[in-house]
């Protein structure tokens, strides 16, 4: 603050400057919550271990399918529990309202938050793929690794869309957290049986085309590009449709403030 009256010079911020500032802040927050982030890595690793060691694990599908199921769980955890909790808490605190009175376009606020979540999912994917290679000897071609990372980004849109829908439709932080946990059953757990007829073919079909099942099919297709089939394309299409529908609901009804 200067002590002499002067006409202030206004330099409008650039979009890249705004995004850099937001990303730096959101990344700092994510890293500061490192323990919570590590905890989201644990369930997919535990599921991976469980699927490979379970007596009837072979009935759930091939080793690649099991890795894709673990990845699906990890992506869903970060999106539905991590992202929704973060957005609901910041909204409750009034953080978004404070950001909205700056020149930052509102979409940059969300893009920054989403980008950090996707980065977390990619890191989790690398951890799970390393564990699968080291412990379970499931290794992929370099192209398959790249395709898997790309499809993880597509898959993230499904569950981040679900998360957006949750925080769009529900204002209370506690209710968002509770419904997020409950939604795991139809959205993710159901998908675990998309490649198994343990509960019959009808259940298998429903499971396969649930959000979790579609993502698991897509990821297992990406991990084995030689076996990429029409069904994988349908899973890709289903994932895109789920993303658009859930994100559409979340954006349509999202409110920046709880007041």
């Amino acid at each position: 603050m200067s002590s002499q009256p002067s006409a202030p010079l206004i330099h409008p911020p650039t979009l890249s400057g705004i995004l850099r500032a937001l990303l730096q802040a959101d990344l700092t927050v994510q890293l500061r919550n490192g323990r919570a982030l590590l905890l989201t890595f644990f369930p997919p690793l535990a599921v991976l271990y469980g699927l490979f060691t379970a007596k009837r694990g072979a009935q759930l599908g091939s080793p690649i399918v099991k890795v894709s199921l673990a990845l699906t769980l990890g992506i869903a955890l970060i999106a539905i529990l991590g992202y929704t909790a973060s957005v609901a808490r910041d909204r409750e605190l009034g953080v978004f309202q404070r950001l909205r009175v700056t020149p930052a376009p509102t979409w940059t606020i969300m893009v920054s938050q989403l980008a950090v979540q996707i980065l977390s999912m990619l890191v989790m994917t690398v951890v799970v793929l390393i564990a699968a290679a080291v412990v379970e000897k499931v290794t992929l071609d370099p192209a398959a690794y790249l395709l898997t990372l790309a499809m993880v980004i597509v898959s993230s849109a499904v569950f981040l869309g679900v998360g957006q829908a949750l925080v769009g439709l529900i204002k209370s932080v506690d209710t968002v957290n509770a419904v997020g946990r409950l939604s795991f059953l139809p959205l993710v757990a159901l998908g675990l049986f998309g490649h198994s007829d343990i509960f019959g073919t009808t259940f298998e079909t429903i499971s396969r085309w649930s959000p979790g099942g579609a993502v698991a099919t897509l990821l297992s297709g990406a991990m084995n590009p030689a076996a990429w089939s029409a069904e994988t394309w349908w899973a890709f299409m289903a994932s895109v449709v789920y993303s658009v529908v859930f994100a559409g609901v979340g954006i349509r009804w999202f409110q920046w403030s709880t007041r």
Binding site: M1, S2, S3, Q4, P5, S6, A7, P8, L9, I10, H11, P12, P13, T14, G17, I18, R20, A21, L22, Q24, A25, T28, V29, R32, N33, R89, D90, L93, G94, V95, Q97, R98, L99, R100, V101, T102, P103, A104, P105, S257
Partner: protein, 267 residues
């Protein structure tokens, strides 16, 4: 009919820092702001007084771009906030009534974030100097929630003025502060005025309005009831029967306020 502000501010030939014309804001069927018009001159501190739910924060929110008005126009200097909201936001600094910042960031990181959002590049040393200037040099590594109420308000004011905006909007800036912290904040507001900035603040405090504002408007049920200097308001309304009825001896600004807005409790 909307009340038109015509009283001159502190400068001889003032140009306008803020111009609000016939502003209307509704929440569903409830009309929160009903035809408010006001002008704020450069270098002027303008106070908006009103009971709870009078429309103070809604008026401010519309100017800040948080609410889309039903109708009316808002100009920040020569920028139309309706057609160019980003440029308008770059020209104003805002302190919200209940502000919170990212709970996992330190004060230093929060300052760096908001400086970046306004296109201001600050080194670590410059951030330290700014925090030292508001007596928060020692708190740079703390989280916002770890600060006292007065310290939080100082951080909020620092961030509202980090880009040296010509117009600063303060929503109840001293609410909940002890007298020492309140006086300190008044000093900072006056320093901003001395630096040529224009300030629009809302307050419940008659003392604050009289201490720092060049002009004061009283708003109730979404309408501006009257506008003048604090002394001018008393002079203008001292013989109003509604004011005489509530006055105990010499008429004060609070008597004018109560007389014009009524004595009933507001939620």
């Amino acid at each position: 009919m909307p009340t038109r502000v015509t009283v001159t501010g502190p400068t001889a030939a003032p140009s306008l820092a803020l111009q609000v014309e016939d502003l209307h804001v509704s929440y569903g069927p409830k009309r929160a702001v009903d035809g408010v018009s006001l002008d704020i001159n450069e270098g002027e501190i303008f106070g908006l007084l009103g009971p709870n739910g009078a429309g103070k924060t809604s008026t401010l929110s519309a100017i800040e771009g948080l609410l889309r008005p039903d109708s009316g126009s808002i100009r920040i200097g020569d920028v139309d906030a309706g057609t160019n909201p980003t440029a308008a936001k770059a020209r104003m600094g805002v302190q919200l009534q209940s502000t919170s910042f990212q709970s996992d960031l330190t004060i230093r990181e929060i300052v760096r974030l908001y400086a970046g959002l306004y296109g201001v590049s600050l080194s670590r040393g410059e951030i330290g100097d700014l925090l030292a200037d508001v007596h928060l040099g020692e708190e740079a590594a703390k989280r916002f929630s770890q600060l006292s109420g007065g310290q939080q308000k100082r951080v909020s004011l620092l961030i509202a003025t980090i880009h040296d905006p010509p117009l600063v909007l303060l929503d109840e800036p001293t609410a909940g502060l002890d007298p020492q912290a309140r006086r300190q904040l008044w000093d900072r507001i006056e320093r901003l005025r001395d630096a040529g900035r224009s300030i629009l603040l809302t307050t419940h405090s008659m003392e604050e309005a009289q201490a720092v504002c060049h002009r004061v408007a009283i708003i109730d049920r979404g309408k501006l009831l009257t506008v003048d200097t604090p002394a001018g308001l008393i002079e203008k309304h001292k013989d109003d029967p509604r004011v005489r009825k509530v006055a105990h001896g010499q008429v004060t600004l609070e008597d004018v306020f109560i007389g014009l807005t009524g004595s009933e409790l507001r939620d």
